[in-house]
Assembly symmetry: C2
Homo-oligomer: 210 residues x 2
Amino acid sequence: MNPLAIPEIVIRRLPLYLRTLNLLVDDGQTVTSSQELGDRLGISSTQIRKDLSYFGEFGKQGTGYDIRYLRDQLRQILQVDRHWNLVLIGAGDLGRAVLRYSGFEEGGFSIVAVLDKDERKIGRQIGKLKVLAIARLPEVIKEYGTQIAIIAVPASDAQEVANALVRAGVKAILTYAPITLSLPANVCVEYIDPVIGLQSMAYSLSPGHA
Amino acid sequence: MNPLAIPEIVIRRLPLYLRTLNLLVDDGQTVTSSQELGDRLGISSTQIRKDLSYFGEFGKQGTGYDIRYLRDQLRQILQVDRHWNLVLIGAGDLGRAVLRYSGFEEGGFSIVAVLDKDERKIGRQIGKLKVLAIARLPEVIKEYGTQIAIIAVPASDAQEVANALVRAGVKAILTYAPITLSLPANVCVEYIDPVIGLQSMAYSLSPGHA
């Protein structure tokens, strides 16, 4: 099938399904249903069956989905059955917290370098990595064949860092900075914004919706 | 209309619309369309019109939406036209980064207290707040009438912290820890998981989908 025909909103739900399947495996479960996935995610079972049908037939009517099989298929579809090298820009409080985040490897990602512009941070060891000067970005990107970067710098520096990443050939950026980046159309961006989740919950807490 | 009839997935998209409207206001724009919002968010314009129609008539055919009016309406619907007090648990690298995040106030939230169990952190000043002992949680929650908490502690401590939050009366938790929390059905939870965004982008980067 033509992958270009799959709506972006469907692609964006697949990691949520994958995450839920991983949790079910951790719980020792082997079979699930669109109903169970839907209940866990607040998405209708019809929507889940429709989303998965873009990629083939994963379950049989009445018997549900084999969790490991569906998980492996989703990992393949999302191309996270191999590892992607990431570079991290920013070795401050947030950068250090990102480096300690334990979910990257399981998700298909490895942070291979951390860079900063602050002379006081360059050369410091954080876990397995030594902080490199931001000037070395082009060489690092080339060495590791990296297409994805994480921005963990203050908002005031984020656009400048993004420009440098684009010049170095990065094609996808995950940013924690609370500003909207201006980027070429061929560069993807994802924002980590805690306010989005808080606002959904505020609605649920309001009188009449609890 | 009965708010219980609005699907959760619709509610979860409203903060994305609100965020985009805020950005358009910052750009000096006054009118927008479901098409423009959709292009910015990767959601179909039909979906956006359908979502907004749950809450009333916000735009006229052909003239689009008045951005400020729609923004104010969404803020009212999401109940973030008032400020919600948050408590933050964890004063490590991540907690300090969360405290410096500048998007909370505009989003309708104020962090009123930060608590930690680490004796070495208790009493330290971070911005306007002094780190309090975790034992003071019930008293802090009561004093500020707080229903929402942010967890920024290591994965190994997150469930214990969540239990203490629930006992103190917290009804909604945003967590950065990469584990799934076990919580009573009447407590909402949102996970900040950078892997979800990275996996969507990995798909786009794969040969044939770029």
